[in-house]
Amino acid sequence: MSDMGQPEPGTHTASEMMMVAAARALKDDDVCLVGIGAPSAACNLARLTHAPHLTLIYESGTIGSKPQVLPLSIGDPELCETALTTVSVPEMFAYWLQGGRITVGFLAAAQIDRFCNINTTVIGDYAAPKTRLPGGGGAPEIASCCQQVFVIVAHSPRAFVPTVDFVTSFGFGTGADHRRRLGLLTTGPSLVVTDLCLLRPHPHTKELQVTAMHPGVMREEITTRTGWPVQFAENLSQTPSPTDEELGVLRDLLRRSGLTRAGAP
């Protein structure tokens, strides 16, 4: 990020800031299990900017995908056609995810609590739900088997809740050494990227705390949109604004993807 210039203020949206901040967290030698939506945008943005060797794996079985457009689903033709190889779904989950070969897993969240437990299953009671969500998919084992987990979620009190209605993906449970007590040897969630800020688990308590705020964001805004009394790190930093290159590549990617999707097959 040495060549990061400062674009004019007001030239990017909060959502763009979120995707750019997520992309920056990826390293060139990461092997990334990519979910659809913001994670896919962030991973491909990273690949098209500072991390050209980033390995993208989609749970449909494609390894080393280099899509030119963002896929609508995790099994779009583009993913297989641009992949180094495509394996079966059982092999993907056994040898590649469970085998511990993925350095970063991306998760989205309908609800997330202060210990980074995630719900994508159901709002309300499981047996008589208010809202039935799609469910876990790959997430429960992405959360336990990837070396670390990044979460991308828009910051709202509906999402940042004191207690999730259902633990779809285990973060730090009730905090501290809960992961270890369950026998989980992976790091777990190490970064939550929102449209307002970055949060990371406290080294000991594992409670999420704000470690960086995006440009123009006030503390109060974060506090108001978080369903628990959120903590701020002592060395709170400010996220650098998106560079012109980052914004240009991201917008180009989204534009290309939109055009492709609207068209007939």
């Binding site: 609508l72 059982p90 989950f93 790959g138 429960p140 084992e141 259902f166 989980l184």
Partner: protein, 279 residues
């Protein structure tokens, strides 16, 4: 050796009310044509198995074919909810739907255990999640070597598995290519298997000795159904109709628009040409 049948005959022969049915295809090669035929033949009380229920199961559920769903992710990928699935779970329309819910890793291991003839699948999974609380099939065992706690789930063993593939040869050997998902495991785990294909060819044209091929003797019926995966896709034949996946959100949101669409686009479409013509 499999029989080469019309779609109508294959479904009539192999799919019965009350059966446990798996239609697989991970985004790719989803057997839509076969699913529509199941709807037209008004099968009832099915236990449907599928990792990613997708639009075809939204349609089966909305048309009242299903009593139970075994799944791991029930959404319209990249678009949002499956509204018919939600309506069944949230409001019991057109009938209540029992859920047996897993993670993808769990389902994938359970299909593999079914294919391998094992009475259980073992995985590092479900740790700390609430899924074992709502799915009593998820248990835990202690590894005798390390003492570690591992998840144990029963295998998936469908009465019938239905998949779509690129090609079959005239003896009924089947080639799959691209995103191959869990189809091989789903076929090998099942009592009966129906495979719809883009074409039945003289030569299987497998590109590699290690291509994914199902020998004819693992399949019970082969059906020529060109375009049979649309709006999903067939690698090498046609692309995914992403626009339709997006449109489905509006079509399926309300019961009335859903029923109208199903009547006009599925029920009123002739089942298939007379038995012999297509095979």
């Amino acid at each position: 050796m499999p029989r080469i049948l019309s779609l109508q005959d294959a479904i009539a022969d192999s799919v019965h009310d009350g059966d446990t049915v798996a239609m697989e295809g991970f985004t790719h090669l989803i057997p839509f044509a076969a699913g529509h035929e199941v709807i037209r033949q008004r099968r009832r009380d099915l236990t449907l198995i599928r990792m990613t229920p997708d639009l075809i199961y939204d349609q089966l559920i909305g048309m009242g074919c299903a009593r139970k769903l075994v799944f791991s992710w029930g959404g319209n990928p990249g678009v949002g909810s499956l509204h018919r699935l939600r309506d069944a779970v949230e409001h019991g329309w057109p009938q209540p739907l029992e859920l047996i819910e897993h993670s993808h890793a769990g389902m994938a291991h359970a299909y593999a255990a079914g294919a391998a003839g094992l009475p259980l699948a073992i995985l590092r999974g479900y740790a700390g999640t609430d899924l074992p609380r709502v799915n009593p099939q998820i248990r835990f065992i202690d590894d005798p070597f390390s003492g570690e706690r591992l998840a144990a789930i029963p295998p998936l063993r469908p009465d019938v598995t239905i998949i779509h593939a690129q090609r079959a040869d005239r003896t009924g050997n089947v080639l799959l290519e691209g995103i191959i998902g869990v189809q091989k495991e789903a076929v090998l785990a099942a009592k009966r298997a129906i495979v719809t294909v883009e074409e039945i060819a003289d030569d299987l044209r497998r590109p590699s000795p290690n291509s994914v091929v199902l020998p004819a003797w693992t399949v019970h019926a082969i059906v020529a159904a060109p375009g049979g995966a649309r709006p999903s896709y067939a690698h090498g034949y046609y692309r995914r109709d992403n626009a339709f996946y997006t449109q489905w959100d509006a079509i399926s949101r309300e019961r009335e628009t859903f029923l109208t669409w199903m009547r006009d686009n599925v029920l009123r479409i002739p089942s298939s040409p007379p038995p012999r013509a297509r095979g």
